[in-house]
Point group: C2
Chain length 251, copies 2
């Protein structure tokens, strides 16, 4: 008989995202995939402890209260961290091929975005977006990064429609390879706080008409990421990391 | 008969890294893989133009002067951009499993590092490093990002030995999840210029003894990337992007 323990992975303690409400003594029955992962991959036993979060109720230490043939039941024991929001940053991006899209969803989640907004631009080559896969990547990255929320993954929409309905109070950080944009760190330091979104184009960049439309918007801050040509996903990650470093840490 | 043209890829114009010297009227015979790529993947014809760089002689527009059964010959026509160095930034990293390692080499190259230094730390899980593959990734990323140089890929060495022989005039930006490090943007703004290296640990972080050794060095700037737990490769890319934005653009 081995003692019960707090389960962990090489990256840190084991955390699971659930939809159900979390609170003292509340019991949760994890879904089939999560139960399989807990019992057969992580070889959890009754009494073992993991962390649970649902994006609303904070981080809860939970105990595996019961294991049955069909799955298991978790019981919340105590709140280990109160609910906290990430800084108000979205990522608007033209989807890229499968592996980079997996990376982008994972890394944007680690880098703290609140929402992922895939858009179809004139030059977007990947028209089909696997939202379920993107969401699964976001959930996994949220679990591993210690976040208390999973970013929202929006339905893909045309870039034109997105701009037409854009909430003007949310600033758009536009990674513009056009040449005359200000360096990103200086541009961010001189710009207002509040909600923001990073916008990156598809491979090959935005169409000239799209670029003109973006640059005409009062809420857009065009920035340069330097002289090198970055891939679309690298540009997105660099801009998110720099925004978090310059803006979020000064909030 | 179709006119000769400047060859391009979805990411931009076609560029190849070569070892040979480049200069007016000089002729270069690309290696087997490059010739195959040019002739059979890109379907190049005599007279087509591409860009060549070798890390020393700038960016040259070259013409496919001759195609034979065994390959082709390129002839330099004119210098399109003078040689330029990237900012003096290295990446010291504990290798990660294959796909993230490919990404890391590609993206660190796009983000402008001069050298990639794989190190074996006490907690490094991946002990074998495929240097040839890492170098191939760096070459490809340099070609696509418009860089005029390919980062040097050093032989793996033990982290302990690396620190013991560290050139003290090169500052080390240490992504320290230990808790009390200053936020990265502020720490970088308050720190000296000159040569730098970003240092990131393996999954699970540095061993306490390694962390203590690092923090005891006068040339180390420990920094925090925020409250979220980033994967090793995400932390490396974020730190490189932020360094370039804060330090390189102010040089």
């Amino acid at each position: 008989m081995s003692a019960s323990s707090e389960l962990s992975t090489p990256g840190g303690k084991l955390r699971l995202y659930v939809e159900a409400a979390l609170g003292e003594d509340l019991r949760i029955a994890p879904g089939g995939d999560q139960a399989h992962y807990l019992l057969h991959v992580m070889r959890a036993r009754e009494g073992d402890r993991i962390s649970l979060f649902n994006g609303r109720d904070g981080d809860w230490l939970a105990r595996i209260a019961e294991i049955s043939k069909r799955g298991c039941t978790l019981e919340c024991e105590r709140l280990s961290a109160g609910q906290k929001e990430e800084a108000d940053l979205w990522l608007v991006f033209a989807p890229v091929k499968k592996t980079p899209a997996d990376y982008l969803a994972q890394k944007a989640t680690e880098l703290g975005v609140r929402a992922l907004l895939p858009v179809i631009t004139r030059r977007t080559i990947v028209a089909r977006v696997n939202l379920e896969r993107m969401r699964a990547n976001a959930v996994e990255a949220a679990e591993q990064s210690g976040r208390l929320s999973v970013p929202e993954v929006r339905e893909p929409q045309s870039f034109e429609k997105l701009l037409a309905a854009w909430p003007q109070e949310r600033r758009l950080l536009f990674c513009d390879e056009g040449g005359d944009a200000a360096p990103i760190a200086a541009a961010l330091r001189d710009s207002p706080g509040g909600p923001w979104a990073v916008v990156t184009g598809p491979e090959g960049g935005f169409d000239p008409a799209e670029r003109t439309a973006l640059r005409a918007m009062a809420c857009v801050t065009p920035v340069s990421l330097g002289e090198r040509i970055l891939r679309a996903d690298t540009a997105a990650l660099a801009a998110l990391a720099i925004w978090q470093a310059v803006k979020a840490s000064s909030l």
